[in-house]
Every structure is written in C-alpha cells, then in structure tokens.
Symmetry: D2
Subunit: 338 residues, 4 copies
C-alpha cells in the first residue's frame, strides 16, 4: 500500500501517518520526491484496508498494491485448476466442453428433446434452469424441484452432466442433490451469504460475472467460495453492462485471457445472455474459443418461438449442430479438442 | 407492443405473425408504411412478453409500449405513497428526513455516540449495519444480532427510528423484529427470493438501486415487493457504475425527478456510497434536496479514521451538523422542512 | 511514479528497472515489502510517462502518482479563476450566471424572441448555435455566419453576452469575432488541434465534458488550452454516457465539487443535453446550483414544438421564468446571488 | 415512427398530433389499444425527426422505427463493399488483411525495421502515426510530414500499403497525398466537419469507433463520409469505454457480426488500443478473426520499451510473427486466408 501525501502536508502530518501505520503493526517506508512525499506500507495490506487512512490529515490518496484476492490468485496456486466431473469430463484441461440446453426447463418433453439434440451435436453438459431469476414478478419463475427431476432423467437417459442455477440458500441442498455443477447467476454474484454456503458444498460451482462487476470483484466473489472450502470454481463471462443497446449486454471476451493471467481457475463463456439475439451467438462462440475459453454455455431450444424464457437468444438444434462443426475446426487449429 | 417487420418480409410471414398474435388471444393491427410494415398488438403485452416473437420469420424488431411495472407505476396510484413510521415521522411528505449513522455498528459506545450526535443535529432515523455485505471475505462482516440489539438501545435512548440491512432470508425475521425500515442493499436489488420474502413482511423497506440497474429494473424490483403485499417501499439512489473512477460511483441525481414522474413511491438519496469521499458528500446532499429527494441516507462516524468500514466516506459529527444547517435553508427555499 | 515488481522478479530485473530510471535522468527509490518490491521514481514523472516501463522484464504495474495536468491544477494557482466578460458579468465569482437560449439559431425572429424572454427572466448570457454538430448528415446543420449576425444583433438589442460553438478550425476566426464565449462541444473535447487553436485566441472558452471523458481527461483537455496561452476556460458538465437510457445521458453533478477540488477553473452545468427531456431540467438546475455550480447553460425556445433541433429538451419561456425564481431562492440560501 | 399517447391523453390531443403529422406531409395511422393509443407515421421519418413531437400535449413517447442511416445500411446495397487498394490487396473479401506497425513513426530506422519485420510475418499494410492525438499536450505529438515521408519510403522499399491518421482538416491534403488508407481516430469519430471533408477525398477511410459511440452512431459517422461521395469506408472496432479498468477499454467483438448484419461495409479490429497490454493482444486477434473480422490493426514495435507512444501495448516482431502463424490456422479453419 502506498500513501500519497498532499503537496502541502506538514511534517507533523507525515509523522502522524507513519505513527498510525506502525500502531497497526506495519512498517512505514518514507520516500520524498520533488513534488510529492509518499509512504510505503510494508506488511499484508489486505488487513490494513479496513483502516480509513484516507481521512488522516495530510493524506491525498491511498493506493493498494496487492491484489485483494489470495486463493483465487495465480500466485497462490502454480498449476491450473482442473475440475473433474466424472466419466472423463474435465473442465480446464485440453478439451473444451460445451454446456447447452434451454434457458428454463419447461416440460419433460421439451427438455428431453433438447438433451437428445445437444448430446448428438457434441455437448457434454446439459443446461436448464429449474429456479429462474426473472426481472418481472409476472414472468415464468421455473418448475422448481419438478424441473430438477426432469434434468436428472435427461442425465440418465443421455449420459450428460447437469448445470443448473441456485437462487436461494433454502433450496441449495435440493439443487446440490441434483446438479453436477451449481450455477450462481449474474444477479447473485455478490449475494455473499449464498457464496459462503455454496463454498461449504461439495459440488463444482459455475460463477457468472455480475452485470457490472470488475474482474477484481468477480475474483473476490470466487474468493468467498474458495475461502469456505470449495475449490472447484468455474468462472463464466456472460456480458457486462455498457451503453450499447443493440446487443443486450457487451460480451467482454478480453476477460478470458485476463482471468487466465490473474487466476488459476477455468473460464467459460456464455454468449447467449450477453448478446440476446441468436444470430450473433455462433460468431461469438467461435471467438470465445479462439480467445482461449475452457468451455461454452449456450442456449438451445427445440422450438425457440415457443420458449417461455429467452427464446430470442436460443439456437435451434440445427444451428447449434452447424456451429459445433465450426468450433471443432477452430479448437483443432488451436491444438485443443471439443 | 409493436412488431416491426423486415423490409423483405413476405405476405406469408406477415400473416404468420398475425396468426400467432391472435392464437395468444390478442388482436393484431396492421399498418403498412412506405418502407416498413408494422403490426400493433392490442391487449396486455406484459403477458405476451413471454413469447419470443422476435424469432418468427420476417420479424425485425419487437418494441414494447407499456411499462413492465404496474403497482409501482403512477398510473396505478394517483396519490403519492407516504410511509408513516410512527411518532410523527412520515417519509414522502412535506418534511425531508435524514437517516444518519455509521456504515457498520462496531460497538455500543461507537453507535450510541453516533446516535446522540446525529439526533442533536436533526436526524430522525439512525442507520447502521449489523450484517454487512463486503467485497472481501476477509473484511469485517458486522456484529450480527449483537449489532441489532445496540441499534435498539440507541432507538430507546434517543428516540430515533432505525434502518438496517437484511442480506439473508434466514435472518429476515430477526432484522424485521428490530428494524423500523428494512434495507435491501444494492447487491441484493435483484435477489428475487429475498424481495419476495420482504414483500410478505409488515415493515417499510428501503430498496437501494443496483449498481448497474436501470430505473426500469429498479421499479421492477420494487414491483416484486409490492406484488407480494408490502406497499411501503422507499427507493434509494446510491450511485451507479460508470467509467469515471475519481468518485467511487456516479450519483445519478436525475433519478430523483424521473422516479417521481414514473412512480408514486418516495425517493431518498445516499451520497456517501456513490461518492466514496466525505469531502463531496455535503454538496451532493444539498443537490439531492434541491432535486426533490424525500430524504437522505448519510454516513456519520464519531471517528472516521478508526472506522472498521467505509471511514473514507463518513462525515464527522461536526461536518454533519454544519451540513444540516445548509440543508434546512435549502429545504426552506423549496417550501419544505427538514 | 511507483513501479510494482512481479512477485517472482529477479534481482537482475530489479536492477534493470533502476538502471533504466536513472538513464532517463530520474532517481529510483527501492522499497522491499513482504510480498512485493516497489520502486519509487523521484522527478517529474510526466516526462517519464512516455517511457513504457511496463514492458521491462519483471514489472507488474506502473502507478502514476502525480496528476497529469499542471496549469489546470489547484496547486498551480491558489486563487480561483474568475472570468470577466465585461459589463459586470464575471464567471466564477459569488454571482451565478445563467446562459440561456435555443439549441440552434433558426431565424431572426426566433432568436430575438428567445433573447428578450431569457433576459427578462434574469439570464445574462445568450446561447444559440450557428454551427451545429449533428449525429445525422441529413439534419439541420445551422445557419452559419448568418446565425452569428443574428446573435450579435440580439446582444446589441438586449445587452446580453453571447456563447456559441465552434466546430472547425477554419471558422474559428469568424466565431471568435462574434462570440463573447467560444464553446467547444462535447464531441470535440479531444479534438486536440482545435483545442490548440482556441488556446491561441483571446476569448473565454466554455469546454464541455466529453460524453465518455473522465474528469482527468477533461482537465487535460483544458490543459491544452491553458498551455497554449488562453487561461479563461470555463468547464461545463453536460452528462456522461452510462447504461441508463431513460435520460439521454447521466448528468454527473458530483463533477462540480470534484472539479472545484482539483482545479481553479469555474464550472457550469448544462442539464438540457444531459437529460434530453424538458420536464427534468428544472430540478436538475436547482441541484446544480446546490452542488456549487458557477452557472448554468439552459435551452429555452419560444416554441419547442417547432424547434429544428432538440425541442424535446427545451423549456418554454414561461417554465424558464418560474425556474429562475426557484434558483434565486436556492442561491440565496447558499449565500450567493443569481 | 410510432407516437405513444399518454394514458390520459384527450381526443383533442390525439387530433392535435394527427394534424401536426399531416401538416408535415405525412400520413397518420391511429391504433387504439386497451391501455394505450398509438399513432403510426407513414412516410420517411428521418425527415420528421427534426420535429419535436415529444412536446406536443398528450404525447408520452416517440419511437423511431427506421434506422437513421441509409447509405451505410445493408438495405441500401445488397453486395458487401470490397475496397481495392491495388496490387491485389482487397479489404472485405475472402482474404483477411493485417495492418501492423508502430503507434507512431519515431524515426526512419524505427519505422523501416518495423516495416521489414511485419512484412516478413505476413502483414500487407503498414500502420504508423505521423500526427498523433495525445491526451497530454506535453506528450510526443508525432513527426508530421517528416513521418509521412518515412512511411512512403517504407511503402516503396517493402511493397506495403500505408494507413495513417488525419487529425486536422488543414493537413488532410497532405495525409491524403501519402496514405493508401486515411485513418479517422476514435476521438474524431464525430468531428463532423472532418468527416465531410474526408468524404470528398478519393481515398479509402478507416473509421475508428468512438470511445462511447453506439453502433448506430458509428454507422451515422460513416454515413457522413458516404453521403459526401466517398464509399470506401472501413469500420474499425477498437474498444469502448466501460467500468472495467484492468484493460484500457473493453473490446466489443460482438460489434463485428452486428455491423456485418446492419451494414455492407467491411470491419476490422484493433485490439492493441482496446486492451492496452500486449499480453492480451494475441488472444484477442485470434478472437477477432474467429468473430468474422475482415482485418486487424496491430501495434508492433521493434523495441517496445523504447517506444515514444503506447509501448505497453506493442508486440515485438517475434511475438507478432508467432501470432500470425496462429491466425493463419484459424483463418483456414473458417475457410478464409490471411
């Protein structure tokens, strides 16, 4: 941590800051420049962050130097995290995995049809929401446990793994009993109590980036899960909020290489939510793979025009199949498989 | 709802859209322009929103016409909502109320000192967090029930009302038992399960705007509470996320007149979180009042440099007192009291 | 400037950075922390910024300490800049000045009517564009020199000063010959060649903040003008681009106290462009004054429904007059006049 | 254009709006819904946009239906625009072209070395700024005409085409005399006078997206150039401003398929400016190609640590060469060449 003193800070103020730093158990390191005096703090600044050094007399600015996350950081763990879902399905390795399926489980028939089609096209993980976070209280809110049961049936029938969202601590045991991967949605990325509970569960977690979360905040949300004991976290970029309105959100694909630089956790991309229009999903899936993503989350619906949720961004099974062929070629060009 | 057909849409595609609209129980109204054909939908479009008309062949765009919220809308309720907290404290009336206190309850002494000072300066409601949503799992997370008890003691002692945050459905009954106003924090604005539960509680709710929530989404979050039976919702603007980094967030004061135009609910402003630096809190409190806010939420700490949370944005009791004098003059200039 | 070395930086890399700093004529100051080694640079870092120290081996991050602007900074000039337009009209002093008039000069009659009305209501400066930056090449582009002549006539007739926009270096001499204040529009805030030329002209400049300009970039744009010799710069906040679409832009009123903290230059606010809807202009004018603005820029049109440009955000003379009465009361409450 | 009337609009107000529409020479088409009455306008609404229908009594909202651009639109031109630079270099065709070189021309030696290296690695177009838009007036501003001469020498020597920026109408003839492609920088995207002049020049134009420009505004800027007679416009996505600060900007790759959907113009991507850190340039170049870009603009410097401008985001020739090999494989996977 670096404390920048104001140009007109007095000697007494400088000494006051140094004394405070030392009182907190840190060492201070003074450096007088031509215009500015700065004080370096030596010790683990994460603990010192609690202290509002900014309000001490004469302080102009406090600049943190260390990343606020520890366990999510690459310096904490030299090897990349790989998450083994069983049956040879490993996230974060050489093979890219595609998680596909409808936004919401609407019926047994809809889900089983979707599962059959995405399996045939090469997906290894089935997505589908049983509990749905909806902007409107008047929209379809999901089938609940009935939806989870249908997902489990599809898993049995087609040999797919299942990723599904948990919204509420009360239903976490239920969701954890059915899911292979528990999804934390974008709106719950900083629902800290939920993160803590998910951190105590023995199930891999897919953590979506919040709509307006910086990469640092996203890694801090992962840190909540890791710090509670669950190390199997998959990060999922799904678009951030910007001023552009033609697409629903702005898919930040640069987050893929950045997260791989800062963290050991695997990263997947969900272009369906970021774009909101199915026409642009395939090119952005291609781009995500080329950017280095470890997987994709894609909405596929047997009949998008009849979907109860997010039909506009869902691929038909035919479009999904054609896209998968392209993705395989790009993966191969990069020395990976899919 | 207006459906804009693509320039090259065929007659068959136009008929397909009309048929679908009618199948859903709505009336379609065709209008052929020079370049575009558009189809108006007659009926309550909120229900039709579930249907992904965008994916029907020939459709270029679907434009909603109605606001998606009902109960939160001014057309639902002609009079402004006023919320009576008892003892003559009414939010949404002619008198502006100031909610002040520390970010977090840290100790009995800290809170009682803060309470005494803010009361003396004219605040009517005491703020203080017992459960704290923190970006880092390593930061102080609040005193929990112990904090609520201290708040209750301050209420007794100084005749203040209490506003405090709930983060978790499991502790909602506890928080509701102590609080005069239950706060939903910015990170939980779209924690829909929590909104539903708060909607079933008989306590006024202060609903902070999400960091990247549009005004429409914010009113939809209020709609969740209203639709579950709790009509006593106070909206709180607290800064949105923009590209500017000098201030912590960008306080969107235009939300005050806009919300008053669109909704009957009262609006208060929290400049402390939006700015993140105490020096700018007083001018923005003045501006919030001038923009028409019904109240303020302000962080005041007896000793900001020793605060366990958000000290940098906290006013000292002295600064708070001086500010209150200015605010009273501005309120009077606008024909209100404070 | 602080250089943060990577955790695994070698001694050789640390020495390499120090050598490079010294080669550039600066002094290096080494500080070894528990996790990180940091190197402070002593000397005027503004010059060193040209050097890409980030790419030297072992460097993790380069953190500037000094503000990049000099002349625009408060440390450069202790007193506030006041700009004397003659006839007792001084921007930046105790009196708040209102600049009002139509978006564009459309005709002699339109402008003279507007001028008469805004003068009667208390405005001291007349606004009106003769050269208009329009998003569409098919929109009305302004009357050009004819518009300037009409503005000059209104100045004569009503004793108002004139503020009008320059878009093009080629017409700068013409605009400077007519205007009392030359306006640089939001889209030209980083048209650096235009800034340089305006810096050589002996006329006050009103510099609008760019749509996505940080406060630092805005002050750097002012620095271009100051560094070329023109010290009479008025900063104008007019709304920044955010994700919110209900208002045209998001008016960042916190920029008012922030700029006053960082710079000696006066600041005015233009709520008309930031909001885009006339209904919200009056509350935000009130708020701007309460936040400490030195003036306002407001669109007033004798007949908004017939305006060739931005009618939706223009006040009628009647609404403008009523608003001015409110503003006077708020100014008085703050110990200022208007 | 659709005019939505307020719920409480009177018959007289509805008639007033219809009369106004008809007075302007359009046809009105009335549609009465359950909650709302809407009025469709039949005719070319682009002309009607000048009229502030929003301020007519009883009007709640005015919703445009047509895209505001014409010539830039795909409906204007069925075939994709391909831009022939001579010597078999065609932008917008099956072959992807890479434009590479330093941010600024710093010296003859620097540029010739860069040119030789990028040519050897497969680039066909050399980039390099002679006139540099810099945030600070104290930064290196480019070599001016001397820089253009060095670029021309490199063209001769290595058989590369040249893209270089114009900042000022006064130097446009000079830049146009040297450049094969004239670049309009991000800060000048809405410098409308410059756009008009560039529209009259017989040289291809590379139009960078503004930092906070919507895709619609970007296409409107292209429209200025097209409407003035120059049809050879290449659009260049280079990152937009968002709240994320780890990368300099947020590269919006979804703009590639979106622009290809809306317009016939070719699109290239500049990841160097969007990211600001060379480490992330290669993955984003790969992603841009996979998203469907027609070309890339990449900063390559023989010695980034010695660069006078943007060294931190420049690739070394070695890294550039390695990246080009990857890009060729991805292009081949997509059925294109590079």
């Amino acid at each position: 941590m670096i404390i920048v003193m104001a140009n007109n800070a007095t000697e007494q103020e400088i000494e006051g800051v140094i004394r405070r730093i030392e009182d907190e158990g840190f060492k201070a390191h003074l450096s007088r420049g031509v215009e500015k005096t700065i004080i370096g703090v030596i010790g683990d600044e994460r603990r010192l962050k609690e202290v509002a050094l900014e309000v001490l007399p004469g302080v102009e600015e406090v600049i943190p130097i260390l990343q606020p996350y520890k366990m999510a950081s690459r310096s904490f763990r030299a090897d990349r995290t790989v998450i083994d879902l069983g049956d040879g399905i490993v996230i974060g390795g050489e093979r890219i995995h595609v998680m596909a399926g409808p936004c919401a489980v609407e019926s047994r028939e809809q889900l089983l049809t979707a599962a059959e089609k995405v399996k045939a096209a090469g997906a290894t993980i089935l997505r589908g929401g049983a509990f749905k976070p909806r902007t409107s209280p008047y929209s379809f809110q999901g089938l609940g446990e009935e939806g989870l049961k249908i997902l489990a049936e599809a898993r049995e029938k087609f040999g797919l793994k299942i990723v599904t969202e948990v919204m509420d601590i009360r239903t976490l045991p239920l969701v954890a009993a059915y899911a292979d991967i528990i999804q934390i949605g974008t709106r719950n990325m900083q629902n800290f109590d939920l993160l803590k509970e998910v951190g105590k569960v023995n199930r891999p977690v897919l953590l979506k980036r919040g709509l307006s979360a910086t990469i640092e905040e996203w890694l801090m949300a992962a840190e909540y899960i890791l710090a509670n004991g669950n190390f199997n976290v998959i990060l999922c970029e799904r678009g951030i909020r910007s001023f552009e309105t033609y697409t629903r959100n702005t898919l930040d694909l640069s987050a893929v290489p950045v997260v791989k630089h800062l963290s050991h956790l695997p990263v997947v991309v969900d272009p369906s939510h970021g774009l909101g229009r199915w026409k642009f999903v395939a090119p952005m899936c291609r781009a995500a793979i080329a950017a280095g993503a470890d997987g994709l989350l894609v909405e596929v619906h047997p009949n998008p025009a009849a979907a109860l949720c997010d039909g506009a961004q869902s691929l038909t099974p035919e479009n999904f199949g054609a896209m998968m062929d392209d993705l395989r070629r790009i993966a191969a060009a990069l020395g990976r498989t899919l």
